[in-house]
């Protein structure tokens, strides 16, 4: 490739599980980032250069993620990375990326550790502890719950992170009647639910992804239990398949589809036009991340890593999922939208901000 060509293409890496059980998440992230890239390129690119998203499948596996990261750095020569999707793979990649001083902006890795001791690593989403605690506050204050049960996936760091934070926070606001775990492969929750129901909690906190939550909600309905389910951002999109069992339940999210802010509605329209489906929060965060990264590169005026990192630190921008500014760790300071499923639609109930 000639020099001019090189200068006119800036490569940004992206990764997520594009195959396997969680492929829908990885695909959303890659789609979101690619949509942003397309818009930026259409608007003239960065300082005249086009951007290209180089995406690899991580299969949700750390070894694969490390290989994918090494490959995009060495083979493709990416200047920055938008990824990974899950905390586990992001943490594995982070350890190497810190050594490389590679600008990394994860749209969706919510684990607390991701940005610690890593000046080059940022994220566009709020953290698990913050989200869990916010859900607890919401349950106690907005819903007036006195007793809460927690049921989480012990094998999943995201789920565990939320559960721990919720448990701690709610304990100071009311009583946690049950703190129960299950594993990724469990399909039958009736034993635990029967046990939980015996304690008669007001709410049940279910921090997991749609597929599992859907099953749990179905079984809650099957057993005829009346506690109110609350969840986290993993629930985003749950109304598509589980509108009936999720009716009336609440969850925390990064943005609300029903938010009338033009930036939100424009994004939704563009995404639907491009992919024929409504975007979930992961897509929105990835879309935001790609814009944030592109803007930092543009302001840096070069593809030199430290320059990009410095500019990322100065980010101050309105995004689909709220206004983004980074704290010294590289975590965004933003608000959480609490959403209720009503008639199969998202209803923005509250925007809870700060602690």
């Amino acid at each position: 490739a000639s020099k001019t060509e090189e200068a006119s293409v800036i490569k940004i890496g992206a990764m997520g599980p594009e195959t396997g059980d969680y492929s829908m998440y990885g695909i959303s992230v890659v789609n979101g980032a690619k949509l942003a890239a397309k818009e930026i390129n259409a608007a003239g690119g960065i300082n005249g250069a086009q951007i290209e998203i180089v995406d690899y499948d991580s299969k949700g596996d750390k070894t694969e993620a490390v290989n994918a990261y090494n490959r995009m750095r060495d083979q493709d020569g990416v200047v920055a990375v938008v990824g990974g999707t899950f905390s586990g793979t992001t943490l594995a990649v982070k350890e190497i990326a810190v050594g490389d001083n590679m600008p990394v902006l994860s749209p969706t890795a919510t684990n607390g550790e991701v940005t610690l001791d890593a000046p080059n690593v940022f994220r566009a989403c709020y953290t698990d502890p913050y989200q869990g605690a916010t859900a607890a506050v919401f349950a106690a204050e907005n819903l007036g719950a006195k007793k809460a049960a927690v049921l989480y996936n012990i094998e999943d760091p995201y789920s565990e992170g939320l559960a721990v934070a919720f448990n701690e926070k709610f304990a100071s606001l009311g009583t946690v009647t049950n703190y129960e775990g299950y594993t990724k492969n469990d399909a039958d929750f009736r034993a635990i639910l029967t046990k939980i129901a015996a304690e008669d909690p007001d709410v049940i906190f279910l921090p997991d992804y749609i597929a599992k939550v859907g099953v749990i909600l179905s079984q809650i309905q099957e057993l005829g239990l009346t506690m109110v389910p609350i969840g986290g951002d993993g629930w985003d999109g749950i109304e598509a398949d589980y509108a009936d069992v999720a009716e009336g339940a609440y969850f925390a999210n990064h943005y609300a589809k029903t938010d009338d802010a033009p930036i939100v509605q424009n994004f939704i329209k563009a995404y639907e036009a491009e992919y024929g489906s409504t975007p979930n929060a992961l897509a929105a965060l990835a879309y935001d991340s790609a814009y944030i990264m592109a803007e930092a590169i543009q302001r840096a005026g070069s593809t030199e890593a430290q320059a990009i990192i410095d500019e990322l630190n100065k980010t101050d921008r309105d995004c689909v999922a709220g206004h983004v500014k980074f704290d010294p760790n590289g975590d965004p300071i933003k608000s959480i939208s609490m959403i209720q499923i009503v008639g199969g639609e998202h209803k923005l109930v509250a925007k809870v901000s700060g602690n």
């Binding site: 690899y56 083979q75 684990n111 012990i154 565990e160 594993t183």
Partner: protein, 332 residues
Amino acid sequence: MDKKVIKNYIINIAAIFAVYAVLKGLIYAGVITRYHQGIIVFILINVILATSLNLAVGFLGQLTLGHAGFMAVGAYVSAITAVALNANFNLPKIVVLLISLTLAAIVSALTGVAIGIPALRLRGDYLAIITLGFGEVIRVIINNIKVTGGAQGFTGIPKLSTLDNVFWITVLAVAFLYTLTHSRQGRAILSIREDEIAAEAVGVKTTSFKVMGFAIAAGLAGIGGGLYAHYIAFLDPNTFNFMRSVEILIIVVLGGMGSLTGSIVAAIVLTIMPEALRSFNELRLLLYALILVVMMIFKPSGLFGTEEFSWQGIYDRYKTRKNALHNREKKV
């Protein structure tokens, strides 16, 4: 000492140094990038895992499905040790690595003994199930206790595994397995695979040798796990699930049960394959599975069967072929 044997030893040692030199040369020349180096490290770790599992499955004849469990024990022990050492002493990296790996090997081997003594009383598929169960139990334990960081994972592990030290540790591990299996103890281990009753009837202490073989396999898996921990620097329990055990077993069977060199070749092939198939995107795992099935159908006893690759073997084959040609010429 047999001259031929010594000649073989020298050839093999020279070959190892040659491979090392070529690797270094290619890295220096920039042909092997850090991306490739990363893959090579994973290959080497898989070599340790597969050859050690081969000891249990291929040489001892005990089907185990929980190798990832021992790998996990080693990985966490090594990681925790290294973190503790770094926090309290100011030791050179290589010393920290060696101490951590030694401890990892010991604890994994002891776990192997603890599982092995009761479990090895069972045969065949029952043993497989027990070890499978053990692997799952280890994972649940790691998920539920504090020192391991639970599902959140264990971070801040010092990155002590470099291509150099992983390479030499792998060489030592394989050499160790080779000399072990080619000694009187190795023959005793093989006899158990062949016929346990007959082995006892000629005076082989089958129980001790089974436990020994199993413990060594576990200990080496622990070293493999330790190297993995110090390369990837972040551990979580899901890394060591049942699928990981299966992946290692696949390498062993594909390479040939009872062939260390087979395991090495298969480790190379099967580690590179998913990378090489990257461009197929969503079809890549489908292809991987397909290739696996096809390879098994056409090479049911693995690439190498129970044979070891040897230069002598190649030379002999070359010679017989030449002789055959020669004979044919004579006939005409």
